[in-house]
């Protein structure tokens, strides 16, 4: 176990691009100094944009009729750092990884970034309104899963620093060892977070409870009337990964790119015939809740797609609360 200030740790990572929450909205972007990085206690926007950018070029082509005119974009394979993810985010990237690697197709764009990344994850001594990661089995505000370097904030200046993979350990090898006092303080911070996190959201059997309520008007009407149909919940969500593919013309060239898409948009399921299998907000918000708390676990085995980061809860302008949805589903199922 090591100890470091933000600056000392940043220096260990020199030579690599560092993406961290910055600016007015705490969006993950490249930083050039440790001073730019937002406070470790803040909850930034989703770090997924470091792994699946909102707008990502798949390839260029000169002639729509000629497949041999395809040119792959230049790919930076060098290691880079994503600093300031929380344990929920690191878990979310693992979950996106399942989708992008399991089955018959592997998404090279994601895998390349994921493998090249050094994930610096910060534990959370103080949960934010809406946070409930502790409600999921094996997760919590100090879960190290998916990290390369794990930080515990000790005070305003210093972190307890642990290399949780070989890659991470090598990078921090030069830092001074933590004292027993620091380690005890880290334990106290951990206990503080573990004690405070909301574990009251039922998640163990929720996939089945939700399935049973799929057609229940009574259950869904509580939320769908007020859902405005914006995509904010899906865009701030670390584990929402859906995208749309588009082509654009730039001068004499063409670009095929993908952009984040949202199941909350009417266009998401609109078919070429004009038929839309999810014609209203009822089907759309239901889809999101089912995907987060039911479909994913039923499809991939052991984990939910929701990681309890609470961002959608905190940001929804009409107060749609996934914790509440889970609680009501469980209550009705009993």
């Amino acid at each position: 176990m090591k100890v470091a200030t933000k600056k000392e740790l940043f220096d260990c990572l020199s030579g690599m691009k560092v993406f961290a929450p910055v600016g007015k909205n705490l969006r993950f972007a490249e930083v050039s100094s440790a001073d730019e990085i937002a406070s470790p206690e803040s909850i930034p926007l989703s770090p997924k944009e470091a792994f699946v950018p909102q707008d990502e070029t798949l390839f260029f082509y000169d002639n729509p009729e000629d497949p041999t005119s395809i040119v792959e974009p230049e790919i930076d394979e060098k290691p880079f750092v994503v600093w300031g993810m929380h344990p929920c985010d690191a878990k979310a990237m693992e979950l996106i990884g399942k989708v992008y690697t399991e089955g018959s197709y592997t998404d090279g764009y994601f895998v390349r970034r994921y493998n090249a990344s050094v994930k610096v994850v910060i534990g959370c001594p103080v949960p934010h309104p809406g946070c409930f990661c502790g409600s999921f089995e094996g997760m919590g505000p100090f879960s190290k899963s998916g990290s390369d370097i794990f930080l515990i904030p000790l005070d305003d200046e210093r972190f307890l620093v642990e290399g949780t993979t070989e890659k991470g350990e090598n990078l921090i090898a030069s830092l001074p060892d933590a004292t027993d006092e620091d380690i005890a303080k880290g334990e106290a911070q951990k206990k503080k977070g573990e004690d405070a996190i909301d574990r009251s959201v039922p998640t163990e059997n929720i996939e089945n409870s939700m399935q049973a309520l799929f057609d229940s008007e009574e259950f869904w009407e509580d939320i769908y009337h007020r859902c405005m149909g914006c995509g904010m919940c899906t865009y701030v969500c670390p584990s929402c990964y859906c995208f749309d593919i588009q082509d654009e013309r730039i001068g004499n060239k063409y670009r095929r790119y993908r952009v984040w898409d949202s199941c909350q948009f009417g266009l998401f399921t609109l078919e070429a015939s004009g038929h839309n299998p999810r014609p209203t907000q009822k089907e759309r918000i239901r889809q999101r809740m089912m995907h987060k708390l039911s479909f994913f676990k039923l499809r991939y085995g052991d984990e939910h797609l929701c990681v309890g980061c609470g961002r959608c809860v905190a940001i929804c302008p009409v107060g749609i609360d996934i914790r509440d949805v889970a609680k009501r589903a469980e209550a009705l199922a009993k």
Partner: protein, 312 residues
């Protein structure tokens, strides 16, 4: 005041005058109020009225009416004006909506509030028209009012069936125009900088559009595939085109409720721009949106003596 609102809502539901009353209820996170749809007279107790009842409810009114329901709504000045503009655009008939008008002292900007207080998880919070408090800390409500509410010309509903509470005067035209004048006095470069800086942050979640009662097109220009008016990515040109395009479509229709600004996760300041737009419309056409329900917005009509000095 809330008792009176509940009483009217209860009576309307019991009499069958309305099928649903749209208002606000308690949210599940600190400092939040959520839109609620009351259909049973006994549920009116869930209605609340406080400075967190921020969103404009007129979009829901339109949607519910089009779904065939008789709608009651708890309306602030801005909600009533949005209903007014929807009536002027013949989206529904006045008889389809019953309005409980509530003069509004101004709504709080929740994002400013959260920034001010930081993490408030687990602490006791309260919000009333005088003060907002977390634990022992307290600030005046005035301090965290939404930008749109600070320049509101019509805090008292313009259209209503019942008015609950004393009428409240809006700000003067001069006061309203201040942020607009500041914006318009910027030179071209600075204004461009303002646009590029703020619209450049847009993540295209379209919350502004969805929160806006006058953004009700069946197919928004940004969603059109054929023709594709703009690209879907994050190129600054497309972000600019999307935001300015949406705003242009609001000329003479926007009531400056500030819902778009309040929901924007990227804190894009729409108020200055929209206030400037309203100022122009008022000066050119002597028209304020949502006041006269029988007069369509100026860009939806043509008169031979329309002012034309802005045409190059």
């Amino acid at each position: 005041m809330i008792e009176k609102i509940r009483e009217i809502a209860k009576n309307w539901l019991a009499e069958g005058k309305v099928d649903v009353v749209i208002g606000f209820g308690e949210g599940t996170t600190p400092f939040s109020a959520k839109p609620i749809f009351i259909t049973k007279p006994d549920d009116v107790e869930k209605l609340i009225w406080n400075p967190l009842c921020r969103l404009n409810l007129a979009g829901y009114v339109r949607r519910e009416i089009l779904a065939g329901r008789k709608v009651g709504v708890v309306a602030k000045g801005c909600d009533s004006r949005s209903i007014g503009i929807l009536l002027a655009e013949k989206q529904f008939d006045r008889k389809d909506v019953s309005i409980i008008g509530v003069p509004c002292q101004g709504m709080v900007d929740r994002k400013t509030l959260m920034k001010k207080f930081g993490n408030v998880d687990g602490e006791k919070v309260s919000a009333d028209w005088n003060s907002i408090s977390v634990g022992d800390k307290s600030i005046s409500t005035e301090e965290v009012l939404s930008n749109a509410c600070r320049i509101c010309r019509y805090p008292t509903p313009v259209h209503y069936d019942e008015l609950v509470g004393e009428k409240i005067e809006g700000v003067s035209i001069e006061e309203h125009d201040k942020p607009a004048v500041e914006m318009l006095e910027k030179n071209r470069e600075d204004r461009w900088k303002f646009y590029t800086e703020h619209f450049g942050r847009c993540i295209r979640c379209y919350a502004c559009r969805q929160a806006c009662p006058t953004c009700y097109c069946d197919e928004c220009f940004v969603d059109s595939n054929d023709p594709k008016w703009l690209e879907k990515g994050q190129h600054p040109t497309d972000l600019m085109l999307w935001n300015l395009g949406r705003i242009y479509h609001q000329v003479g229709r926007c009531v400056e409720c500030g819902s778009c600004e309040s929901v924007c996760p990227m804190d894009i300041p729409f108020t200055e721009i929209l206030a400037g737009m309203s100022k122009r419309v008022r000066e050119l056409y002597d028209y304020e949106s949502g006041i006269a329900v029988d007069e369509p917005p100026p860009l939806q009509t043509f008169k031979t003596d329309d002012p034309q000095e802005f045409i190059m």
